[in-house]
């Protein structure tokens, strides 16, 4: 019985360790499931092993780890969950002939033509117009921007602003904040509130996002929140002490609120394995990615030819049995980015209400 | 050669040196004495440019040097030693001394990178100068010892050598015999005389009256930053103001 190794290089220590560990958790959960019934590829039976290395969120260490994973561990695929690491890995992954599973929503990860990259999360721009529709119709046309200031949030707001204006709205305040470096958001939030917005655009990591929402309420803000997808509404509710503070918030439906049967089954499984903790979308998507990678190997009939595996990834996602695809990835687009039919969630009367992003897929 | 006109230094409200005017002749030994805190070290700091003057004028060989920085003063030829000597303890005595002549060299970064002729010549010159200076103070035999391992008196001599390596014309010595025993003090006094013979002008601060009285051509007495007396050892020793403020009856008429 041989072993397929899938590498991971991401933060396991320092400030971003929590995030890195959720990603790794999802990967390991998938590996455990596969190993329960070893796969057969090209006539051989395989087990899957996840090899994890810490890169402290530091791109140059990602570069080193990639080399190490490929050359010492002969990993066929490596998952990197941060954009800097992805870009650094892309300097050599083609030469190393290793499949790069990029967990970053930045379109640049796939737009630069790297032939061995798969972008796991969906393109965030698909969320923008349903979010705007939901918030603007009920709460008003003035939006204040108070999102985080890291790369992803910046890309989000850059796409969001023109869309909001195109929908007839007005940006009354634009005040990005350091969610992970600021000691206090009070002044920053009051600066945005001062412009009397109807809607606040917020988002970064869930917990500070929740603080921003909470402080906005404390300062008298009564409108809606548009929450960019990095922040998970369920995790935010834990910080704010329930959904009532988040009344009117629009965001992506968290895994725990996704009532599609595959998602519910996954959530139940995950809770059982993790002391009742809810899975986040990082867990679900990277779980799916590992399953899909193995499926692609099966389709390609090879565990080592990255080009052949990459060519089968789209198919692999499409054909993945529902139980292994809790996040409902429907396939890859032309550039290698995942297509996902997510659920847009809004908080109404203290409860999450969901609506599928593309209702034509509702018949699933 | 050195002319000071109403030199003053104030620290906040305190006048550490207050309106001192004095002149020192070329090739003489001049002592500055006074109680602790009288402003002697400060007086040296002013002459050597370590601190800017609050008021007054300093003229060396007819040239007004008021307001020059310490390194500029050194270039003009003012060398000095410090009340407590700092040497690089982990290097040999010679290595400590080589930098002393740096001031008279001109090689720069480019010379260093390209290893030019000039650099090599100047390094040799510095080495030679260091050896000469060490020879002059009578320590040629310890050039290879670590500076941290030599005795107190040897440190004082190395400090002299370091100052001599800068090719000074005026040498300021702050308590050169401080922490040195009476026997060795005699040796140091001889060394200071030898420097005088070689043409240097010397100013020194010292509490050891026996040494001063035998050595100095002229004594300047400070108290609370003011000049209270100036003159030959005999004059100063007989001066009642000095006896009152500093010498006490013990040293008078010794």
């Amino acid at each position: 019985q041989d072993i397929i190794k899938i590498g991971y290089s991401g933060p396991l220590s320092g400030g971003a360790a929590l995030y890195g560990k959720s990603v790794l958790n999802g990967m390991q959960m998938a590996a455990a499931e596969i190993n329960a019934a070893p796969v057969e590829i090209g006539g051989k039976r395989y087990k899957v092993e996840i090899v994890a290395l810490d890169d402290k969120y530091n791109p140059s260490e990602t570069g080193i780890n990639l080399q190490r994973l490929v050359q010492q561990h002969q990993t066929a695929a490596v998952l990197v969950p941060h954009s800097g690491g992805v870009f650094a890995a892309q300097a050599s992954n083609e030469k190393l002939k290793v499949l790069l599973l990029a967990y970053t929503s930045l379109p640049a990860a796939t737009e630069r033509g790297n032939k061995l990259t798969v972008r796991i999360p969906p393109d965030f721009t698909t969320y923008i117009s349903p979010f705007i529709k939901a918030a603007m119709s009920k709460y008003g046309k003035n939006v204040g921007l108070a999102q985080a200031d890291h790369d992803y949030a910046k890309a989000w707001s850059a796409a969001f602003k023109p869309a909001w204006e195109a929908a007839g709205g007005k940006v009354v305040a634009d005040n990005p904040m350091s969610y992970n470096k600021a000691a206090d958001f009070y002044s920053g939030v009051s600066r945005v509130i001062q412009a009397k917005p109807d809607v606040l655009f917020i988002g970064g990591a869930s917990e500070p996002t929740a603080l921003v929402a909470k402080q906005a309420r404390e300062l008298g803000f009564k409108g809606a929140f548009i929450v960019l997808d990095q922040a998970k509404l369920d995790e935010m509710a834990k910080i704010t002490g329930g959904y009532s503070t988040l009344e009117g918030a629009v965001g992506v439906m968290p895994m725990s609120g996704d009532d599609r049967p595959d998602a519910v089954a996954f959530t139940t499984r995950y809770r059982k394995l993790n002391e009742g903790k809810d899975p986040s979308s990082e867990v679900a998507l990277n779980y799916t990615a590992v399953h899909a990678t193995i499926a692609a190997m099966k389709l390609a009939g090879t565990v080592s030819d990255a080009t052949a595996i990459r060519a089968q990834m789209d198919q692999a996602f499409r054909k993945l049995p529902g139980q292994y695809n809790p996040a409902s990835v429907e396939g890859l687009d032309a550039k290698g980015g995942a297509i996902v039919n997510a659920i847009v969630a809004s908080v109404e009367n203290g409860k999450l209400k969901g609506q599928l992003l593309r209702s034509n897929a509702a018949g699933q | 050669m050195l002319e000071l006109t109403s030199v003053t230094k104030r620290f906040g409200g305190l006048s550490a040196v207050n309106g001192i005017s004095v002149g020192f002749e070329r090739g003489t030994i001049n002592a500055i004495i006074g109680p602790n805190g009288a402003g002697k070290t400060t007086f040296f700091n002013l002459i050597s440019g370590v601190m800017p003057l609050s008021e007054g004028r300093i003229v060396i060989d007819g040239r007004d040097v008021t307001g020059l920085r310490a390194d500029q003063m050194a270039r003009i030829g003012v060398g000095r030693t410090f009340q407590s000597t700092t040497l690089f303890d982990n290097a040999s005595v010679l290595d400590n001394l080589i930098v002393g002549h740096r001031i008279r060299t001109r090689s720069n970064l480019l010379d260093v990178v390209f290893g030019t002729r000039r650099l090599r010549d100047e390094e040799a010159a510095c080495r030679r100068k260091a050896r000469d200076a060490l020879d002059f103070v009578g320590l040629a035999h310890i050039e290879a010892r670590l500076a941290g391992d030599i005795s107190q008196e040897e440190r004082k001599r190395v400090a002299f050598a370091l100052a001599l390596a800068t090719d000074p014309t005026l040498l300021l010595l702050d308590e050169p015999a401080g922490g040195v025993n009476p026997e060795e003090t005699v040796g140091l006094a001889d060394l200071i005389r030898k420097m005088k013979r070689s043409g240097l002008t010397i100013c020194l601060i010292e509490h050891k009256m026996d040494m001063i009285m035998n050595l100095a051509d002229k004594i300047l007495v400070l108290n609370y930053g003011e000049k209270i007396a100036e003159g030959t050892p005999a004059e100063v020793r007989a001066n009642p103001v000095v006896i009152e403020a500093y010498l006490g009856s013990d040293h008078a008429h010794a």
Binding site: Q67, Q71, D149 | F82, D95, L119, A144
Partner: protein
């Protein structure tokens, strides 16, 4: 003479390393370590030899890296030209930073430069139009082939970095052992005394500072061509701490120490990868122990012992007779 043999042996080892290394991973670790070694050797000049502890060093490394990144990606300047500028730009900025900061002494200087480092970091992060902000600079080209060498190959890259490391060491060796180096050391030992010896403090400290950040900039330029992606975290003060640690562990104020530290520590942290979560639980106390028990670093401790021995062989300290004045009491 001994030293020459030692250095030649080290160089030979460096040249032979790719043939001994099992795979490119080892080359990558080594090349990255060399890049940081160049920066560390630079830091050693201002901190170890001149005695001014600069905490903005990684900021200057980032300046060099971004010089290459911005010029090659946004202005299509060939790598080699941009690279040539990386050290110069860092030194240029170093001039202005040094002019203000070098008036301060000891930890005032350190904390001041720490703030300067932060400002550099924040500027890189916020100044989107120039630095691409938090997104970082993507797609930096590998150094163009020259003399028929393809610098996107790990092995040639390794030799390229090694070449610059050797050059840096050689230049540093020249500086440190020249009158200029002695001037810097004199400033470290006591700036009052140095000034009294006619050394212009500001000019020399500034020169040391600019040289030091020149090396940082150069290392940054190499980094840009090697990692080919740049993000603001390159400027974060943690990297300066890392370099300080390399310097201290190897032996601050020595030639070989910082090199040894910078090359060996990354291997140590790589070896500790298996500890995963516990990596720094082990590493932290290790660091403390090293500092307490080997205060002069590995090379420093060894050198001090050797020097003392050599010095004692040269001359026997003169024996002093007791003064024996007066009546010795009964």
């Amino acid at each position: 003479m001994n030293a020459k043999i030692g250095w030649s042996a080290l160089l030979a080892l460096g040249l032979a390393f790719p043939f001994m290394a099992g795979n490119d991973y080892h080359l990558t670790v080594m090349s990255t370590a060399y890049i940081y070694a160049i920066a560390t050797v630079g830091l050693n000049l201002i901190t170890g030899y001149t005695g001014q502890f600069n905490l903005a060093h990684s900021g200057f490394m980032a300046v060099g890296a971004y010089t290459v990144g911005i010029l090659t990606v946004d202005y299509q300047v060939p790598f080699w030209i941009a690279f040539a500028l990386s050290g110069v730009v860092a030194a240029g900025i170093g001039f202005f930073v040094g002019l203000v900061s070098l008036r301060l002494k000891t930890h005032f200087f350190s904390i001041f430069t720490m703030c300067v480092g932060y400002i550099m970091f924040l500027l890189i992060e916020k100044w989107d139009s120039l630095t691409h902000g938090t997104g970082g600079i993507v797609g930096i080209p590998a150094p163009e082939s020259a003399f028929g060498l393809d610098f996107s190959e790990p092995r040639t890259q390794y030799y390229l970095v090694l070449l610059f490391l050797a050059l840096s060491m050689w230049i540093m060796h020249r500086i440190v052992n020249s009158l200029l180096g002695r001037t810097f050391v004199a400033i470290r030992n006591g700036d009052d005394l140095a000034q009294a010896l006619g050394i212009n403090l500001m000019r020399n400290k500034l020169l040391a500072f600019m040289l030091s950040v020149f090396f940082a900039g150069l290392a940054g330029g190499l980094y840009a061509g090697y990692v080919r992606f740049l993000g603001p975290e390159l400027a974060s003060v943690e990297h300066t701490f890392d370099m300080t640690m390399y310097m201290l562990i190897g032996g601050i104020g020595t030639m070989a120490g910082p090199l040894l530290g910078a090359v060996s520590m990354p291997w140590l942290t790589q070896q500790l990868q298996f500890l995963q979560d516990y990596r720094f639980v082990v590493f932290g106390p290790l660091l403390v122990a090293l500092v307490i028990f080997l205060p002069h670093g590995i090379v420093g401790t060894w050198m001090a012992r050797r020097k003392r021995k050599a010095a004692q062989q040269v001359s026997v300290p003169p024996v002093r007779l007791p003064a024996g004045k007066g009546v010795r009491r009964a």
